[in-house]
Symmetry: C2
Subunit: 85 residues, 2 copies
C-alpha cells in the first residue's frame, strides 16, 4: 500500500517521530512522509508511532492509498522523490 | 476530485496560505488541508497559491485523489472531519 503520513506533534517529540518514520518512508517536507509499504510495515509504523506520541496532545493522520497518487508540486521540492525512487 | 494539500512555507506567509486554503478545504492540522473540489476550484487554488508563495523558498505538494481516501488517525484529531462532512 502507499501511505502519506502527516503529523503535528509537540516539538519535544518531533525529532523522534521524524527519525522513526525515516526508516520506512520518504521525507517530503516538514512533518510529511510518503512511500510504498507492506501491511507488516504499516502495522509496525502504527505501533511505533503510538509508542512515540502523546495521544492526548499529538496528532498523526495516515492516508492509505492503493498506489502512488498523482501529485503536483508548487515552489521548490524540499526532497525530490525522483532522487530516490 | 479529492485533494490533500501540505505546505511548508516561510512563517511570514503561512497565515495567508492558511486563510486562502480555508476558503476551499477542510483544515486537518498544522500545514495540512483536505477536501473535495471541482476542477475549476483546483485551478483557482493552484493560481492562488502561486500568487501567495515564494517559489524559490516555499514548498506545496498537492496530492490528487479520485475520492476521499481511507485514513487512520492516531492521537487527537485537531479538527475532526466528522464535524463538517
Amino acid at each position: 500500500m502507499y501511505v502519506v503520513i502527516v503529523y503535528d506533534v509537540n516539538v519535544s517529540r518531533v525529532n523522534k517521530v521524524k527519525k522513526f518514520l525515516r526508516q520506512y518512508l520518504h521525507w517530503v517536507q516538514n512533518s510529511v512522509f510518503e512511500g510504498e509499504i507492506t501491511l507488516a510495515e504499516f502495522k509496525r509504523i502504527k505501533e511505533g508511532l503510538l509508542d512515540l506520541i502523546d495521544e492526548n496532545e499529538d496528532s498523526v493522520v495516515i492516508y492509505k492509498l492503493r498506489s502512488k497518487p498523482k501529485r503536483e508540486s508548487l515552489g521548490i521540492e524540499k526532497n525530490p522523490l525522483e532522487d530516490i525512487i
